[in-house]
Amino acid sequence: MNIQLNKYVKYGLILLLSVALILFTMEIKLIKNPDSTPITSMTFVGLGVLWLFSMFGIIFSDIMQKSPVKIIRDFPILGWVSITSLILCLISDFFVQAIQAVDFLSITTPILTFAGISVANRLVDLRNTSWKVAIVAIFVFTGTYAGSALLAQIGLFLSGN
């Protein structure tokens, strides 16, 4: 039980770091461009809500680990957080307003900063990758994105949207 609690305290602190970085990014954005999303009291509420929903998602994902269905056990934490947030946002519009007071692009910069640091030791692995696979990768990424975009375009056209 104690280990379990420690784990959640750790996750809570990391999430706190994450929302603090978002706030920092918004502040820097405002210094660079005073017209970007303002930091209001609602922003702080929004960051608090994001923190809380992320925590709920983590706990929810832990509970679901006990599910007998493999697909549900394998469903990523990221997905559980989105679903938790979606349900709570459908219940109350207040959450939507609070969260939307947090600038979207300011959420993305800190994430990619950490993503970049996390792959620092992986760059060496590139040496073991042949240039052929690198070319294939371009077509694989192009294939999934262009494929989905074309089908969506056709679908939207057929549905008269």
Partner: protein, 263 residues
């Protein structure tokens, strides 16, 4: 370790500040406009500065093994607030999304484009069994798990999927942030591109949708709603599409193409 962690934090704030001050850069190349967001500068800077040649003195403390391990292990948790934000983007538009729900489901099949486009190219380049791993999907955790279960990661198939995994981790976000606006310039509707952004990887989806938002800010709510709804759907249906469609189609095409090759 605690002291090194402090270096990591200060470094992260420094990188964020620099990236935000460079800001959104629209670079016209011929008739296309490539938009580079602060997030692209953030990942490029951290990757470049992390090169082994720089790892001396303070740089060694920032990029200490513990810090790199921390960033990798907890990246997913740092991403969680973003995922929570997507809930708030989908909720106000849930009716609209359900109304065209079938379009969302149909575009999931577009993820088979990895096989249809990638496999012939891979075989043309002379790859064989590596191609199986490299073109089954975009090489995220789902494909890694499937390939390692079926062939092990030491096999040629395994090496293929690992290579795509590494390339995707390093360059996926950058690729999509450049590629999405190109398709926009080619005349694909932004709603369709937003839906397509749900490729199954959090950072790639964020990069693709963020560039679209930067290009067409007045559509922000629609773009984010569609992208995150599609991402959610991909995390649900992705495994099914891979196991029941991508893998059999790939096996069929592989047999046909390789046999034709040997004649």
């Amino acid at each position: 370790m605690n002291k090194n962690f402090l270096y990591l934090l200060v470094f992260a704030l420094f990188i964020i500040t620099i990236s935000e001050f460079i800001g959104f850069q629209a670079i016209p190349i011929g008739s296309f406009t490539i938009g580079l967001l602060p997030l692209v500068f953030a990942i490029l800077l951290t990757m470049f500065l992390g090169l082994k040649v720089f790892r001396k003195g303070i740089w060694k403390k920032i990029y200490s093994d513990n810090n790199i391990h921390f960033a990798g292990k907890y990246l997913i948790f740092i991403m969680l607030p973003l995922m929570a934000r997507y809930g708030a983007d989908v909720a106000p538009q849930i009716r609209e999304i359900l109304q065209i729900g079938w379009v969302f489901i149909i575009q999931e099949l577009g993820n088979l484009g990895t096989v249809f486009l990638g496999l012939p190219i891979a075989l043309l380049l002379g790859l064989r069994r590596e191609a199986i791993g490299a073109t089954l999907g975009i090489g995220r955790e789902g494909e890694l798990a499937y390939i390692s279960e079926k062939y092990t990661l030491e096999s040629k198939e395994g090496r293929g999927v690992l290579s795509i995994y590494i390339i995707g981790t390093l360059f996926g976000a950058i690729f999509f942030s450049v590629f999405a606006p190109i398709l926009l310039d080619l005349g694909i509707r932004v709603e369709a591109l937003a839906m397509a952004s749900g490729v199954g990887s959090g950072s790639m989806m964020s990069a693709a949708s963020a560039t679209l938002v930067a290009r067409i800010p007045e559509m922000e709510s629609t773009i984010l709603a569609y992208a995150s709804a599609s991402q959610l759907l991909t995390s649900f249906l992705g495994t099914f599409t891979m196991v029941f469609l991508a893998a059999p189609i790939q096996a069929f095409m592989y047999k046909k193409l390789v046999r034709g090759d040997n004649k």
